[in-house]
């Protein structure tokens, strides 16, 4: 069920009304029922896998909890408990990620292997459930936290089920943490009109980004970035730029809808984007883009990796064998590199995603290793870190790196990434930007105008937010009529420029098809 469908809006509306009507004790059960309805609408077969993962991780939580509660008076007993816990945790994670691997990456691995081996391997044709990786990451985080004794396990399978399956987050995340989300899901609450209002506003804003901007930009992207792209570099760059716009508006718009829907139920979900356009470095970018994935990687991959015994050894070896800073930060850099590689692979089963991981990993690791050198250069050039010009330069530089990285995630395959990059640099053919080529890519002049205006609104608002202005509370201080005008304008824009953007066939055209 897509966010941009009437059934979804209907489900949310019905869910919200019932949520505040049913007895408070039953509120969380209602949320669970609505989440189930959401899943079943997408096909019962797919949901089976999710039930399996949920059951497995819930059980692992219980078993870990049992171990946590076991009295361990001496060191031997403690070690024994730790060993059992480790086994439970490892078994559970292997099963979960094994399933994810089988469903998402097996066929890719088989096809990537030399054909002598790969062709003999079986292929699976799973119906991958919606949001499987979010689901597994969230559940795995819970198991690791219980393993670490961060909080007690959830004994009630239904309550645990609600935590992993809360429907708004299943499409595009965010990856929530049990200790933040579960208490909110399970607590009883009365109707708060302000929550309802903010929820509606967030949803509308999300739809605006998704339907008005992202869906429009996608038309041009799909027309330009193809296997045998016939256009010059300027048009290709334009296509990738539109892809950046599309990706940001679609993803962050989706998260806005998710958070808006949750807010209507009085639930505050984690932010996933913090205006990545203003990032001044690639590391900063990853702190602002898909925040919950980065945080998950930090807590469950980076730290465990850096603090592991193996890495301790590597670190000691590096300090002994590599001179200067390089030796000191070698292990950290390696962990960082691995994290970004995993992030790359997380995006999908394809070589270009691995390359995308490498691109980010190499750049960020290099910047870590070269940090001292950069500082010396800056001092030599008398650059003021705090100056606006420097910030603008850094932002633009970061933007360029992200922009190049997007060639990896959008090109149809790894080889075309390099073809497209080559075209962009060596055969720009800038005249194509003005000779009408742009208008032959599925977007009319008015569409470009709409994208430009909508982006102007979006950037203006983000500028204010970056300076610490809270838009919605600020809007509340305006006269009622202005507030009504603002929301009606947004609503009309979503309807007329978004919902009714595509799919209209002029009657003369309907006939000429036949």
């Amino acid at each position: 069920m897509s966010f941009a469908s009437l059934p979804f809006v209907g489900l949310v509306a019905a869910g919200v009304i019932l949520y505040y009507l049913v007895p408070k004790r039953a509120q969380w059960l209602l949320l669970l029922a609505v989440s189930m309805a959401f899943y079943l609408a997408g096909g019962a077969k797919r949901a089976v896998w999710l039930v399996l993962v949920a059951g497995l991780t819930w059980l692992a939580g219980l078993l870990l909890e049992k171990q946590n509660a076991r009295p361990a008076p001496d060191k031997t007993a403690k070690t024994a408990v730790r060993r059992v816990k480790k086994r439970i945790c490892a078994a559970c994670l292997v099963l979960c990620f094994g399933l994810l691997y089988l469903m998402k990456y097996w066929n890719f691995t088989a096809s990537a292997l030399p054909s002598a081996i790969g062709d003999k391997l079986p292929r699976w044709d799973f119906v991958v459930p919606l949001g499987l990786s979010y689901f597994i990451f969230q559940a795995a985080g819970y198991v690791i936290d219980v393993y670490r004794g961060k909080y007690p396990a959830q004994k009630n399978p239904l309550k645990y089920g609600l935590f992993v399956s809360f429907f708004p987050q299943m499409v595009q995340g965010p990856i929530s943490r049990y200790d933040q989300l579960a208490p909110q899901l399970l607590s009883a609450r009365g109707l708060d009109w302000r929550d309802l209002k903010f929820g509606i506003q967030l949803c509308l804003w999300g739809y605006f980004k998704k339907l008005v901007i992202a869906d429009r930009a996608a038309v041009l992207v799909n027309a330009v970035i193809t296997e045998n792209c016939p256009y010059g570099g300027a048009v290709v760059a334009c296509g990738i730029l539109f892809y950046c716009i599309q990706l940001y508006c679609d993803f962050s718009g989706g998260i806005d809808i998710t958070r808006g829907v949750a807010r209507m139920f009085g639930i505050d979900m984690a932010e996933n984007f913090r205006r990545p356009i203003f990032a001044t470095s690639l590391t900063d970018y990853w702190r602002r883009w898909h925040i919950t994935l980065g945080a998950w990687m930090r807590d469950y991959v980076f730290y465990p990796l850096s603090l592991s015994r193996g890495f301790g050894k590597i670190s000691r070896w590096a300090r002994a064998h590599i001179r200067g800073t390089g030796g000191k930060i070698f292990a950290t850099s390696l962990a960082t590199f691995i994290v970004y590689l995993i992030i790359g692979v997380w995006h999908g089963a394809n070589f270009r995603y691995i390359a995308f991981g490498l691109w980010n990993g190499v750049l960020i690791t290099a910047s870590l290793l070269l940090e001292k050198t950069f500082l010396r250069w800056k001092a030599a050039l008398h650059i003021d870190d705090k100056s606006a010009a420097w910030r603008v330069f850094m932002t633009l530089r970061t933007g360029l790196l992200v922009f190049v990285g997007r060639y990896f995630t959008r090109a149809p395959r790894l080889r075309s990434v390099f073809t497209l990059l080559k075209t962009t640099v060596l055969h720009p053919q800038p005249s194509q930007l003005l000779d009408g080529t742009l208008l032959s890519l599925g977007l009319a002049k008015t569409d470009f105008l709409v994208v430009a205006l909508a982006l102007a609104v979006l950037l203006t608002l983000e500028c204010f937010q970056e300076r610490g202005v809270h838009i919605r509370p600020a809007l509340e201080k305006k006269p009622g009529f202005v507030q009504w005008l603002a929301v009606t304008a947004l609503l009309l824009a979503v309807l007329l420029l978004g919902v009714f953007r595509a799919g209209y066939i002029p009657s003369g055209f309907i006939y000429t098809q036949f």
Partner: protein, 609 residues
């Protein structure tokens, strides 16, 4: 504003907007989903979605029909009127573009269960094996929920109530630009259900070269590799339709309409043969799919749709009528016993040769004969006689328009070298000078008389003297000879501005500036009816040919005249006509050579060669 108030105001706004949209869609009803009670413009609605709008139309009008024709868009040219006569029934053509056999099955069930159905004609087209149960666009391709058990009323009405408002706005906009003739937004004739092909049926047709120029698709036919993956489900649906008809006592006729030969080439021969063979296993049917007709592009509007004239021919073949020309290989009644090889043999038809189906016919245009030649429209009797003599000696035979019609419609033979001699305006000299010469050489001719100047030597009721025109007595005498036919040059749509007093002068048959279409059609109808009454009364012959004054004409004029029973019209554009059997359009706006005094007999023969 408090948060509570904000939420309530927001919800109210949403409600009002939704109500406005629903109200607009329900009132304007661009798909006819709600019965189009306000505008009742079904030809528009049917263009947007024939499945939905035609059912809405039938819900209101099914008592006017007792028989139905079903199928995809090539079914449009199944002629309702001809079938009405042949079956003694009242047919409605339920052609729906892109219809697949699943649609047909569902509709048949609904028709039989809810309406009176005596006859059902089902067209099975190759595309029915190409697509099955196709509903990619919910607004334009889906069925009405009443005929579709797979759609709920709720989802149906929600879909059309909250449809893109541009559909409703486009309909309102079209309402302002609507014309009597169909445009791309109202392509159906709501009374018969057929495509409204009046414009294409009025277009003059001539040589193959000229047709290719107008419709280059035939020169460069788009080739693609297609297959028939849905032959089996398609035939299951046909079988289901047959079973339903048998049970309900409905007379079912299955027809495989003509397919353009180049389109057939998109498929593997075995696939096509298997398609029609499996149809024969399910039901006997009339097979017109591949014949010499399929090879002649002029029998097709485009690469998919055969002409209404061909539909008439189909009906004639099916009902054993002999009053229409038909190629011998056109139409076979196929049954389960039809030999195996038929299905492959039929796919290599012999094309009709130009000699078999067409003839070159030059038409000469004269006006006034006079010893004293003072303008380019006059010819001296001596020169006229020289020209006629040359024609006669060169082996030309003067033919009448009746003979041309007999050739085109019924396939009657024409002389080896036909020529048509015509005179415009109806001058007395035609009788005094030309008629004796024509008699001498036994040449037939047609005179187009203007009604107001018939038998006059003064301009209407004025004192202005004009060249004298012959009257009833002369007309009767000439007509009785069997050589001369008196036909129409309009009653009063060839006015002479200097002698007219009013400001609106009709110099030709085109509308006056600012005249509404309705007023114009009425004026033309009255004018021609008067002209015909006058001339038929005088000459005692039917009047069904009209020469356009000054050669000017429009599609609307042509369509109006056809509806009044005019079968031949003439322009003044020069050229030799190609008349084609089965295509009455080759008799529309026919070409004529204007003959002047300085055309020598040799030059004349050269001109028309």
């Amino acid at each position: 504003m408090s948060s509570k108030k904000w939420v309530l105001v927001f919800l109210a706004t949403v409600f009002v907007l939704a109500a406005l949209l629903a109200g607009l869609n329900a009132a304007v009803d661009p798909f006819g989903a709600f019965g189009d009670r306000l505008l009742s413009w079904f030809s528009y609605d049917e263009t947007n979605n024939p499945r939905v709008a035609k059912l809405s139309y039938l819900e209101q009008h099914h008592d006017e029909y007792d028989s139905y024709i079903l199928g995809c868009s090539s079914t449009s040219s199944f002629p309702v009127d001809a079938f009405n006569e042949a079956f003694d029934a009242r047919f409605y053509n339920l052609i729906m573009y892109g219809a697949d056999m699943r649609d047909c099955e569902k509709i048949t069930r609904y028709l039989i269960e809810h309406y009176e159905v005596k006859n059902l004609i089902l067209n099975v087209y190759l595309d029915n094996g190409l697509e099955y149960d196709e509903e990619s666009d919910r607004l334009t391709k889906s069925l009405h929920y009443k005929e579709d058990p797979d759609t709920s009323a709720l989802s149906f009405y929600t879909r059309y109530l909250f449809a893109d408002p541009r559909y409703a706005l486009a309909k309102l906009n079209a309402l302002r630009t609507d014309t009597i003739l169909p445009q791309t937004f109202d392509v159906f004739d709501e009374r018969t259900g057929c495509y409204d092909k009046r414009v294409r049926d009025a277009e003059p047709i001539g040589s193959a070269e000229r047709y290719l120029e107008s419709y280059p698709v035939f020169a460069d036919y788009p080739h693609q590799t297609l297959s028939l993956p849905y032959t089996e489900p398609c035939m299951q649906s046909v079988a289901a339709i047959r079973a339903m008809c048998e049970e309900a006592g409905v007379n079912l006729t299955v027809v495989a309409g003509p397919v353009y030969a180049a389109y057939l080439k998109n498929y593997q021969t075995e696939d096509i043969a298997a398609f029609y063979r499996s149809l024969a296993q399910v039901t006997p049917f009339w097979d017109f799919s591949s014949s010499s007709v399929s090879c002649e592009m002029r029998y097709f509007y485009d690469g998919t749709h055969f002409r209404n004239n061909v539909g008439e021919m189909m009906c004639a073949r099916m009902t054993g009528r002999t009053d229409l020309w038909l190629p011998d290989d056109f139409g076979t009644y196929v049954t389960a016993d039809t030999p195996e090889e038929y299905f492959t043999d039929v796919l290599s038809p012999a094309a009709l040769s130009p000699d078999e189906i067409s003839a070159q016919v030059p038409i000469l245009m004269y006006h006034h004969l006079s010893e004293d030649v003072t303008n380019s429209e006059m010819v001296s009797p001596e020169q006229f006689e020289a020209q006629i003599r040359a024609l006669s000696e060169a082996g030309y035979t003067g033919v009448s328009f009746d003979e041309l019609q007999a050739y085109v419609l019924r396939g009657a033979p024409l002389p080896e070298k036909p020529v048509v001699i015509t005179f415009d305006d109806g001058y007395e000299s035609n009788y005094t000078l030309a008629y004796p010469i024509l008699q001498k050489y036994g040449m037939k001719a047609t005179i187009f008389a203007i009604g107001v100047s018939f038998g006059k030597d003064h301009y209407k009721d004025t004192d202005y003297a004009i060249t004298p025109h012959f009257g009833a007595a002369e007309a009767a005498e000439m007509a009785a000879s069997g050589l001369i036919s008196i036909q129409s040059h309009t009653y009063d749509m060839h006015q002479w501005p200097p002698y007219e007093s009013g400001s609106a002068v009709r110099e030709n048959i085109l509308p006056l500036p600012g005249e509404s279409e309705e007023a114009y059609v009425q004026a033309l109808t009255e004018d021609f009816t008067r002209s015909r009454a006058l001339l038929e009364d005088a000459a005692g012959q039917p009047v069904d040919v009209l020469a356009y004054p000054a050669g000017q004409y429009s599609t609307l004029a042509q369509v109006t005249l056809q509806s009044l029973g005019v079968h031949v019209t003439l322009s003044t554009n020069p050229g030799v006509n190609t008349v084609v059997r089965g295509l009455p359009q080759t008799l529309y706006a026919m070409l004529r050579f204007g003959i002047t005094e300085d055309v020598t007999p040799e030059a004349l023969l050269d001109m028309i060669r």
